[in-house]
């Protein structure tokens, strides 16, 4: 597959996943199910952009690690907030 064809295929997959995200926003799902599904979409979409558009697979390891960790942490925080909201409130409240 040529690099241009690979880029086009990645773009089409990203558009399809975006429409999937729109469907999730309209769905009756909520809570942890919605958070996990939305987080998975963010993880997959950001990975596709990082690998195919930013081409970080061939980049300096420090850049690759920082960007990769950042966009793995984002979906993880989405799920964590849905799972452990009260715990986060305790950690981030001043006084008792």
């Amino acid at each position: 597959m040529t690099p241009d064809k690979r880029l086009t295929r990645t773009w089409l997959v990203l558009l399809a996943l975006t429409l999937g995200g729109g469907f999730l926003g309209e769905s009756h799902y909520g809570g942890i199910v919605l958070a996990v599904a939305a987080a998975l979409l963010v993880a997959v979409k950001s990975r596709l952009v990082i690998v195919h558009f930013l081409e970080l697979n061939q980049a300096h390891p420090r850049i690759r690690r920082v960007v990769g960790t950042y966009f793995a942490a984002m979906p993880a925080l989405m799920v964590l907030t849905a799972l452990a909201g009260p715990q986060i409130v305790r950690w981030t409240s001043l006084g008792g």
């Binding site: 987080a39 963010v42 952009v49 925080l77």
Partner: protein, 202 residues
């Protein structure tokens, strides 16, 4: 008396030069890391506010325009794709094709502020301004900040288009074009994270 002069060994080149490659240039990565830090702090504020006010965040998404958020995601991704194609064209030394793809990236990128303008008009008509509650305060703060970064990117695109038109880039040297591409993709990535936080999670 014998004196021995020893010179330090020159640093060895990396075993695999491609592994240590910095896309674009170092300067743009300093800027991108600053952008990631700035948004990282705002994302933390979002998650903490969401944990403290789950009802406000649960109800807030339904009041925003999902169509506007989805349209902006399509514009950002498509503009990013066009820049990736521009980079691919310049690597083949095809300046005219590169310029055409940059033009496409600009038009698609301009779709973002246009949609944002109508979205804000629509919000205000629904009584949704920055004082409408914690969800909308974080929404305006994060999305307006993102709009500022998109605006820098659009200015950068215009600059890179002018340089391409002047023949400044070729298959042998396209560092400036690649640097702008990196910034634009990073700004796209930030939007991919913002989109579900305000338009999808309810």
């Amino acid at each position: 008396m014998n004196a021995t002069l020893t010179l330090p060994h020159p640093p060895s080149p990396p075993a695999d030069a491609s592994v240590a490659r910095i896309p674009g240039n170092k300067g743009i990565w300093v800027g991108i890391f600053c952008e990631l830090t700035e948004f990282g702090l705002m994302f933390l504020v979002y998650f903490i506010a969401r944990a403290h006010h789950p009802e406000a965040f649960s109800a807030g998404a339904a009041r925003l325009s999902l169509a506007a958020g989805t349209a902006n995601t399509v514009f950002m991704l498509s503009s990013s794709y066009a820049i990736a194609r521009a980079l691919s064209a310049i690597r083949r030394d095809e300046q005219r094709a590169c310029l055409r793809w940059l033009g496409a990236a600009l038009v698609l990128g301009l779709g973002y502020p246009v949609v944002k303008f109508f979205e804000v008009q629509w919000n205000i008509a629904q009584g949704i301004d920055g004082s409408a509650g914690i969800f909308f305060t974080t929404y305006y703060y994060l999305t307006f900040n993102h709009l500022v970064h998109v605006s820098w990117g659009i200015l950068g695109l215009l600059w890179v288009m002018a340089r391409t038109r002047m023949g400044a880039y070729s298959a042998a040297d396209y560092q400036g074009l690649e640097a702008l591409g990196c910034y634009w993709h990073a700004t796209d990535l930030i939007w991919l994270a913002i989109f579900p936080l305000f338009y999808v999670l309810h």
